[in-house]
């Protein structure tokens, strides 16, 4: 029997070992801390390829009009509604910022970097909000439903915060919306909850709506006669799977879907059950936490045709790239935003130049692009309604916004879906990833197939 004092010393030693291990490791958390806009290349989107930097990431296309085509936002200053430096002597305009980070599951690790990037640009180059500098009041949800309530109260109870922008949040999303009475502007909604909210505006769309174009892609681009889909049976993902199933049905493409348990590790069985080995289109659909397993199983089964494997952009995540040895899965992606390096996207060219100027190494990350677009659009709306506008004014302006969105869809239609009034976009582009940061455009903006 170990004596009490020895036990104590053993315990202290163990704690030191544990803390030492934790402290000495190469934590990826640093790339997601608030305010950091200088994340290392290894943590950032396409630049995670072994020998690829952000500048190497390119997209090629045969289409004439990339991004939002003729409607692409190329003059960011005119878009935001100001120019030059914001006046530091004026009182700041506070925008709330919520992201899920710091816990076991991180969805948009670099989203906060994108928001910070936009704030810097707005204050330095685009005149702030009517000359007032913009500041972000940040709140992070780590891993608990309770933290959604906490963030909502922190931002909701602060009278300086008139509007809240949101990155990638799944945990605590319901409790967050239940406790806040201010406009919440989201880029890509991770769950179907956001779309139904009274105070929500989702500029780039959510899974249930922007995955519908996969049906059109299957029918019109791939000319597929069959489709297979696997997805984890988790809240949020399953609703997206249901949307894809419906889209395939509307497009007349017979599809088999297999939902597997969250903890299931070997996905060869589900893929075989879905007939993935013979299907003409395969949809591995998951949030970032499941993409590595899906990619491994597809690889093991020899299903490697990057054109016929179509997935959501949630797999374009640095975590996924790291889990696969440094690069994203070589699939085709349905994306509701601009893609870094797309030479046909005039708006992207401006963004890339700006990212170069500010040395934003995380710039290729899709979450940085989306968050940048969200904060820029929020600044535009605030400039339109004025810095003293009420929350109701801002919500009205957001819902009335017809686009185009910086780095997003050419036009918006908020309220198009009565059951999801906050959803403003249901279109997506398709890019095939060729590896080492190179994307090829597979299709321009597609809509959902009509049933």
């Amino acid at each position: 029997m170990v004596s009490q004092s020895l036990r104590g010393w053993l315990g202290v030693a163990a704690a030191i070992v544990v803390l030492g291990a934790a402290g000495c490791g190469s934590s990826d958390e640093s790339s997601t801390t608030a305010g950091s806009t200088s994340a290392p290349a290894a943590d950032t989107g396409a630049s995670t390829t072994a020998d690829t930097t952000a500048a190497d990431t390119t997209a090629s296309t045969d289409a004439d009009s990339g991004g939002a085509g003729a409607d692409s936002v190329t003059d960011y200053a005119a878009y935001v509604g100001g120019s030059g430096k914001a006046d530091p002597s004026k009182s700041p305009v506070t925008i709330g910022w919520v992201n899920q980070q710091g816990g076991q599951e991180v969805i948009g690790a670099a989203a906060t970097d994108g928001a910070d990037f936009a704030v810097k640009a707005i204050n330095d180059l685009y005149g702030g909000i009517d000359g007032h500098p913009v500041v972000l009041k940040k709140c992070f949800i780590k891993s608990a439903e309770e933290e959604g309530t906490t963030c909502a109260q922190q931002l909701g109870n602060d009278s300086a915060v008139k509007v809240v922008d949101m990155g990638g949040v799944a945990t605590g999303i319901q409790s967050f919306y239940s406790s806040i009475d201010k406009p919440v502007i989201t880029g890509v909604a991770v769950t179907p909850v956001d779309g139904t909210q009274k105070w929500g505006t989702v500029l780039f769309g959510d899974a249930a709506h922007v995955l519908g174009p996969m049906g059109t892609y299957a029918r019109d681009v791939l000319k597929a006669k069959s489709a297979a889909m696997v997805y984890p049976n988790t809240s949020g993902v399953r609703e997206g799977a249901a949307a894809i199933t419906q889209a395939m049905k509307d497009a007349g493409v017979p599809a088999k879907g297999v939902g597997y348990s969250q903890g299931q590790t070997d996905l060869v069985g589900p893929l075989t059950a879905a007939n993935a080995q013979s299907a003409e289109m395969v949809v591995p659909y998951s949030d970032a936490s499941g993409c590595v397993n899906q990619a491994k199983a597809l690889q093991q089964l020899g299903i490697t045709d990057s054109k016929k494997i179509v997935s959501a952009p949630l797999c374009l995540n640095p975590d996924v790239a790291a889990g696969l040895g440094g690069d994203y899965p070589l699939w085709t992606y349905s994306i509701a935003s601009s893609l870094y390096g797309d030479p046909t996207d005039k708006s992207m060219a401006v963004y890339m130049k700006l990212a170069d100027q500010y040395k934003i190494k995380a710039a290729p990350d899709p979450w940085v692009i989306v968050s940048f677009g969200v904060v820029m659009s929020t600044a535009k709306l605030l400039n339109e309604v004025g810095p003293d506008a009420t929350s109701d004014d801002i919500l009205k302006a957001a819902r009335a916004f017809k686009g185009p969105v910086v780095l997003g869809a050419p036009e918006l239609a908020c309220g198009k879906y009565p059951d999801a009034p906050a959803i403003c976009n249901d279109r997506a582009q398709f890019f095939t990833y060729a590896g080492k940061g190179k994307f090829d455009k597979a299709a321009g903006w597609l809509s959902q197939p009509t049933g």
Partner: protein, 659 residues
């Protein structure tokens, strides 16, 4: 038929992974009597070590052989540390204390990997060949067969070792009766250490070899312990052969269910296969097997497990209740909004922990399903409000009643299953309820989530958005705090009264010795059924409070892993005492203690996870009766013994402090 056979083969890979972990669970249990919830986490640690050595994350990058050797050394060191720090000091503690200790190990393992290497999944290099074979018209990776073969060989070796070697016989002797084994010159500590090291090696091997069928992160492998526990339980935590067969069988059943889910007859929801069917089937298999193999009473020769901590009889009820009401109400008025919310979270955590005080503290039944029952109540409140327009107070009452109903169904299994086996069965129930119940869009959370409107009574808004303000404005309103405070104090009084009453005595008698209680004419079945009902009802009330607090219900809040953490912190607080529930509430998620740690010291997220794991183990070692129990002991050492009470014509001596 060919298709069925194909899917049987396709289930071998994940089945082998589950089987390997199940073997490790059995090894640990045979050596130290601990149900090691951290078995999957131990596999994860070895996986991380091999990855780090092989890819150069630590050192300059190694070839396979030296990386494997060093991983083996690391695995052994981790196993030895876990045995010395977390398991051995609790050798004579209750089974629940041991289980909670292993949960502490799980928290520390997960948190340390998250802090060291981030949330990023790691590209673990495969060791087994990556070739594929064509079987029954389909492609099947060869490594699935190899992994299954390796696990079967390990199982056979272990069977031989424990059947024919002196070490095996000694371990069997010690696990049957440690005292007699020691009298025969066997060292129980040594045997336990060797078994834990063997368990570490088996789990670590699985963590390294299964690289191609899993992903290396802080969640995937640790989660595999749930099916592994089921397999180990089917093997009665003793038979390696059955554990391996059951593990592989679970993998095969899952694979067959994948196939069945594509058939036209399989039920669907929103056009996709109904979720949670696998978890439900797995639970039904476990519960059926356990029910058939269990006994209404423990057998005469069965090992008598160490008891839970003492249950002192509450002396005064009114004074503490009134004091709590006054102080609580004052706090709600003067606290800033964030501490108001933290106090509300604390109080709801207290109610949830009280549910465990009744069922585990008083009756000795280790139930992991309580939080899921709270979820059932929460979803009921939401559905009644949104779909039927039924609000407060009928909706929470209905929610609590439904929780009681499900609690009774759980209790039926408890009539023939007990101890740690019941913990595993109820863990299966919690997983099934979460996956089949909460994730279903019809009776669980829908596409738009599960909103919960404010509670109103006679035109008064009693919810967080009520117009009543404290000294500082902003949500949540003190009004909701008062409601939660009132309910919490009421629940505390109910539980304390239970302990003081005759039924409380019967519950303690059942906890002490079911056979003796039955011999004393106590209806053991009835006591368990009533206790489960009361406990479920309290959980139901907590679920309704959660729902009103969040203004919504989310499946994530009621997951099985969260339930395990709840039990852990309830135990650390003092699972046999009402004051223990208060301690548990203080450290519950976003309760007063975590909130203060975050606000003043910046400790949150993964750091808090690590901190929680370390504190948990130290609390268990230093105060096996929990913080409140230790506090009670210290307090009552200084007091003179009170006079015997006379109640109902019977003398109820202070000696009724149960041990």
């Amino acid at each position: 038929m060919q298709q069925l056979l194909l899917f049987v083969l396709l289930g071998l890979g994940s089945g082998a992974l589950i089987a390997g972990l199940a073997l490790s669970v059995v090894l640990t249990y045979r050596g130290s009597g601990i149900i090691n919830i951290a078995t999957g986490a131990m596999a994860m640690l070895s996986g991380y070590c091999y990855w780090a050595l092989k890819t150069g994350e630590i050192g300059g990058g190694m070839s396979t052989a030296p990386a494997l050797v060093l991983t083996l050394v690391y695995t052994l060191v981790v196993g030895a540390l876990i045995e010395l720090i977390a398991f051995r000091p609790l050798r004579n503690a209750s089974p629940l204390a041991k289980l909670v200790s292993s949960l502490g190990v799980l928290l520390i393992a997960q948190a340390s990997m998250l802090l060291a290497f981030g949330t990023t999944q790691k590209p673990q290099p495969p060791i087994l060949p990556t070739r594929v074979v064509h079987v029954l018209g389909a492609i099947v990776p060869l490594d699935r067969f190899l992994l299954a073969g390796i696990v079967i060989v390990i199982a056979l070796l272990l069977m031989a070792l424990y059947r024919w070697s002196r070490f095996g016989l000694a371990t069997r002797a010690a696990s049957e009766n440690e005292v007699n084994a020691m009298l025969a010159g066997l060292s129980a500590n040594q045997l336990s250490m060797i078994n834990t090291l063997l368990a570490s090696v088996v789990a670590g091997s699985v963590g390294v070899l299964a690289a191609s069928i899993t992903q290396l992160d802080s969640v995937s492998l640790p989660l595999q312990v749930v099916p592994a526990l089921a397999a180990a339980l089917l093997a009665r935590l003793t038979s390696f052969g059955i554990a391996a067969a059951a593990g592989i069988g679970i993998g095969i059943i899952n694979s067959l269910l994948d196939y069945f889910s594509t058939q036209s007859w399989f039920p669907t929801s929103d056009g996709v296969p109904l979720p949670g069917v696998k978890e439900l089937v797995a639970f039904l298999i476990i519960i059926t097997a356990m029910f058939l193999r269990g006994n209404a009473l423990p057998g005469r020769g069965e090992l008598i497990e160490q008891r839970l901590p003492f249950v002192p009889r509450p002396q005064r009820l009114a004074a503490p209740a009134i004091t709590a009401l006054i102080i609580g109400a004052a706090c709600f008025m003067v606290f800033p909004f964030d501490f108001r919310q933290a106090l509300i979270n604390t109080l709801i955590g207290v109610v949830m922990a009280l549910s465990l005080v009744v069922i585990t503290g008083f009756v000795g039944q280790i139930s992991v399903v309580q939080l899921a029952l709270a979820g059932v109540s929460g979803f009921t409140v939401s559905h009644l409000a949104v779909d039927a327009g039924i609000g407060f107070p009928l909706a929470p009452l209905a929610g609590a009643l439904l929780a009681v109903l499900l609690g009774l169904i759980t209790a039926v299994s408890a009539l023939r299953v007990r101890g740690v086996a019941l913990a595993v069965v109820t863990l299966g129930a919690a997983v099934a309820i979460a996956q089949f119940g909460f994730n279903n869009s019809i009776w669980g959370g829908g596409d738009s989530g599960s909103p919960v409107p404010e509670p109103h009574l006679f035109g008064w808004d009693l919810g967080p958005r009520s117009g009543l303000h404290g000294l500082t404005e902003g949500l949540p309103s003190p009004m909701f705090g008062f409601v939660v405070l009132l309910v919490t104090v009421g629940m505390c009084l109910l539980v304390a009264s239970l302990r003081r009453g005759d039924f409380g005595q019967r519950m303690l008698a059942v906890r002490s010795n079911e056979r003796a209680a039955a011999a004393a004419a106590i209806d053991v079945r009835m006591v368990k059924l009533i206790a489960f009902s009361i406990s479920a009802g309290i959980a139901g009330v907590a679920g309704a409070l959660y729902a009103y607090n969040f203004g919504s219900v989310s499946a994530n809040r009621f997951s099985a892993l969260t339930a395990l953490a709840l039990i852990a912190f309830a135990y650390a607080g003092g699972i046999t005492l009402v004051s223990g529930a208060v301690f548990a509430g203080l450290i519950s998620t976003e309760g007063l203690f975590p909130h203060a740690m975050d606000k003043w010291l910046g400790i949150n997220g993964n750091w808090f996870l690590l901190f929680g794991g370390v504190i948990l183990i130290f609390t268990l070692i230093q105060h096996p009766e929990g913080v409140a129990g230790a506090f009670y002991k210290t307090l009552h050492k200084r007091r003179r013994p009170s006079a015997p009470e006379v109640r109902g014509g019977r003398v109820m001596a202070e000696a009724q402090v149960e041990r």
